[in-house]
Symmetry: C2
Subunit: 195 residues, 2 copies
């Protein structure tokens, strides 16, 4: 088994959600695993000077259309949550608190709740419910552990140090790919070992 | 023959160049023609608050890598011109002065010179040479006609009014698609008549 694909994402990212519905199956087709790494996109925006797409003239309306259109093409449910864009600090920390396969399953559940069902995933009750659905209790306490908080901070610092400026962002054997629409290239890169 | 695809682009756009090597053949596969419409991307940036990618921290280095990588995948030559980003006012006007198939052939020649060969297409001598190569003389005068200037201004105003904020940007039967990486969706849209 070769090195895992690093998948950086912020939960407040519709294109990250779309990628979350595809990346594991894509990786598996090429004998790879995926490391799911939530980070705080706002911290990267401070470096690049960007702001959320939907707050930008012309770009906002286009992307709202494109989110839904791309979801329809993939055949995945899509619904914009009312409070978008949001800051999913608790959800992001929870992924690191849970770790491993549980963390990944929780991340998928959060993305599905946020953009598949339009739920508010900044609310602790929602996160608790999703955790319980995976057989996990103690989330409210877990996301407050100093160690949990440090994990998200470290992941965010590391992401920016590696040049991550958007969500989703992938590294395949060190090669960076930004955006859900780069998954086609990710797949070719995996198949050919680069080009 | 159905309605043509509108292809909006700025010459100072590496992704526009990549699209310029693909769009006519793509359209032809679906019995469509393409209207090539240069516009002034800087005018759209004034509306959106964006600036050229290469001037942005993190985003700049990534995109320089991505331009070259995407070109390699397509098998087209790629070379960044020294003065990038540039303002190709004369080249853009010349496309409207020439019009029709001549304008399109000239636009392809300009893009190829700029990003296939890394030449400076803001220089009148380069444009004159490219025009002569197509059997056209009088470019220096033609791009100064009030009517020519008005064509580019009108195209830019119209682009922004239609929501164009980046290059390349396509409309297929009114449906907007932004970016070279949306050509895969453009092709599916043409094949299925939307989804």
């Amino acid at each position: 088994m070769s090195a895992p694909i690093d998948f950086y994402f912020d939960f407040s990212s519709p294109y990250g959600y779309l990628a979350s519905t595809q990346i594991d199956a894509l990786a598996e087709r090429h004998g790879r695993k995926v490391e799911w790494r939530p980070f705080v996109l706002g911290a990267a925006f401070k470096v690049t000077g960007q702001k959320p797409l939907v707050e930008q003239p012309l770009r906002g309306p286009y992307h709202e259309r494109d989110f839904a259109r791309s979801a329809r093409l993939l055949g995945v449910p899509f619904r914009m949550p009312a409070g978008f864009p949001f800051f999913a600090l608790g959800a992001s920390r929870a992924v690191y608190w849970l770790g491993g396969e549980k963390g990944k399953a929780f991340a998928k559940a959060v993305y599905h709740a946020a953009f598949g069902e339009g739920r508010d995933v900044t609310v602790l009750a929602t996160l608790t419910e999703l955790a319980v659905g995976l057989g996990v209790t103690g989330l409210a306490e877990g996301i407050e552990f100093a160690e949990t908080k440090a994990s998200l901070r470290d992941a965010t610092d590391q992401a920016i140090a590696r040049g991550v400026f958007g969500s989703p962002f992938f590294f395949v054997d060190g090669e960076p790919f930004w955006g859900h629409d780069r998954l086609a290239q990710v797949e070719i890169w995996l198949a050919r070992g680069g080009w």
